[in-house]
Amino acid sequence: MALLKATKLSIVFGGLRAVSNFNVEIAPGELVGLIGPNGAGKTTAFNLLTGVYQPTEGQIEFDGKSTVGLKPYQITQRGIARTFQNIRLFADLSVLDNVKIAYHFHVKYGLVESMFRIGRYHKEEAEIEEKAIKFLEIFQLADKKDEIAKNLPYGEQRRLEIARALAAQPKLLLLDEPAAGMNPQETQQLMEMIRWIKKEFNLTILLIEHDMSLVMGVCERIYVLDYGSIIAQGTPMEIKNNPRVIEAYLGEEV
């Protein structure tokens, strides 16, 4: 059974159909890419899947249940985490606190316990701290845990954003252009990391990317979006040689 299944998803912004008839099916454990030229509607599709926008029509099923109408935080709690194209870290917070916030909805202690530091507070806070540091160690950010997020170099900000998303313990991870702004070397490292986290956390991943070396390198299957609709899908090899894709990307041969 598919982990994520979007059927006939469409959204209209002021008369403009930004995404139309978007059909995607992802099986558990898959690593799928979503590509397309600038302005094709990829991020809009992500926003639909994560509840930031509500679809004008269509269905989204995650883990066998519909997520249409849910708020973004509810969808995250169901098990979909994401990163953003233009990094959205909690910029003024420390690296550690960024990760801690991802544990938020797993925390059980209540308001009164927090205000007076009683009951489960100390135990759970210690647990969170420990888990968060462990996480940062995995992502080689532990030595920077007290650094303010916005002061990290760009590549590390990207890494932190992924770490933060994973800390929410999702089943499905959506990555929105994780390699944007990275140099080839960093992109290479990122590729390895994506493969590794997929295995380590037993994840399903859907990623949007412009950097073809990355997409072609890590994805098992690729969807191509152009003018809001899926125009092709298949393995990296198939996609690379698909004339419709080439045309969408490079333009018509003149």
Binding site: D92, L93, S94, D97, D146
Partner: protein, 392 residues
């Protein structure tokens, strides 16, 4: 930022509060200088009532200047320490605290607004320093409503509300033959509300009907909506016990709307600005109660008005006059007590009998309210003219 320890927070508090202690320690030691006697003024220098407070300050300053020119009191010069109460009750208590404990004044010209006097009353009573309000007219200013007892250290120079309110009600019914009246009250002023309440009580007791009971807020400028409503009720008279700035605008706008009936009010009307704001013609057929009449040829009035004009290039209003009177009465009490001891001054002030003030012959009754006759003034072509005199 989430990392910093609570201790560090506390260290801030420590240093802050230590600083407080330090400053307090230094500040508290300043005492009475030998050659001057300090009077305090706890007045509305900023905020909504700044206009009134600054007039009152001028009145008090003039009194002190005159006394000092004549050699001062008890061989010493007087100074006035002004503290701003920002037109707020709580700040009045604060200012009072400062005057009596920091500046060690021997008496205080207390706030304009009744609520501020009441808020500060405990402070000056605890410190045994008298406060005399130029204008606060609510009965609670001198009588504690919880105990029913007179506040030992609180005085006033103005009439109390019941007196003025009932004087005007009687005047409306007897002299103007009014059967119905409308009330139009400044809802932010307890003075105006007090006058309104006692006007209503007396008016209804004597068989009249109040056909409209409306309110405005200080600093309003447009009254036409409510005046239109009042007009539709056809009252014989309209009672507007507010302050001159709004009253002037109210009467002007009422006349424009064709509301021609007499308008009545209290001492808050007394200002040379009233006919300027309201226009002389609009103010015809209006009456208000006051402490004195400028027609009064008494030397006290004339001298005061002249001196004030010379000093400030303005005509004094009621706030200035009453504040001048309050200050002069305190100085007079000081002279009679032959002492600058606050308690002795208080005792003498309570005994004041037939003191010739700008606002008439004043005696204090048992509840520290001035007993003085009121005059009713009619506005004629922008001039205040004497209508009748009402004795208490």
């Amino acid at each position: 930022m989430l990392k910093t320890k609570f201790t560090k927070l506390v260290s801030i508090m420590v240093s802050g509060l230590m600083l407080a202690g330090l400053v307090a320690g230094c500040g508290g030691s300043g005492g009475q200088q030998a050659d001057v006697i300090k009077l305090g003024a706890n007045l509305e220098m900023t905020g909504n009532n700044a206009t009134f407070g600054q007039s009152a300050t001028n009145g008090a300053k003039l009194a002190i200047k005159q006394i000092n020119a004549k050699g001062g009191v008890l061989g010493k010069q007087l100074t006035l320490v002004v503290a701003d109460n920002k037109s707020e009750a709580a700040e009045a208590a604060n200012a009072m605290q400062k005057l009596v404990t920091q500046d060690k004044v021997v008496a205080v010209i207390a706030p304009i607004a009744s609520s501020s006097v009441i808020a500060a009353a405990q402070v000056n009573a605890d410190n045994k320093v008298l406060a005399i309000s130029p204008t606060a007219s609510n009965p609670k200013v001198t009588v504690d409503p919880n105990t029913g007892k007179v506040r030992d250290f609180n005085f006033r120079a103005a009439f109390i509300d019941p007196f003025q309110g009932s004087v005007m009600a009687t005047f409306a019914q007897k002299s103007l033959k009014a059967k119905t009246a409308a009330l139009y009250i400044d809802n932010t002023s307890d003075y105006a509300k007090g006058l309104g309440q006692f006007f209503k009580e007396t008016f209804e007791k004597n068989g009249g009907t109040i056909v409209a009971n409306e309110a405005y807020l200080a600093k309003d400028t447009d009254f036409k909506a409510t005046l239109t409503k009042i007009k539709s009720q056809n009252p014989d008279v309209v009672f507007v016990p507010g302050y001159y700035q709004e009253v002037g605008m109210i009467i002007k706008q009422a006349r424009e709307l064709g509301l021609t009936v007499p308008f009545l009010g209290g001492d808050g009307w007394d200002s040379a600005k009233l006919p300027e704001i309201g226009s002389a013609t609009a103010l015809n057929n209006t009456f208000f109660s006051n402490h004195y009449s400028p027609d009064d040829n008494s030397a006290a009035v004339k001298d005061f008005v002249e001196a004030y004009k010379q000093e400030y290039n303005q005509t004094p209003d009621a706030f200035a006059a009453l504040s001048y009177d309050a200050t002069m009465m305190v100085i007079d009490a000081m002279k009679r007590a032959n002492s600058a001891d606050p308690v002795k001054i208080k005792d003498e002030l309570a005994k004041t009998k037939e003191y010739q003030a700008v606002s008439g012959l004043i005696s204090f009754n048992a509840s520290h309210d001035p007993v003085k006759s009121a005059v009713i003034i009619e506005m004629k072509d922008g001039k205040q003219t004497f209508k009748e005199k009402v004795n208490p």
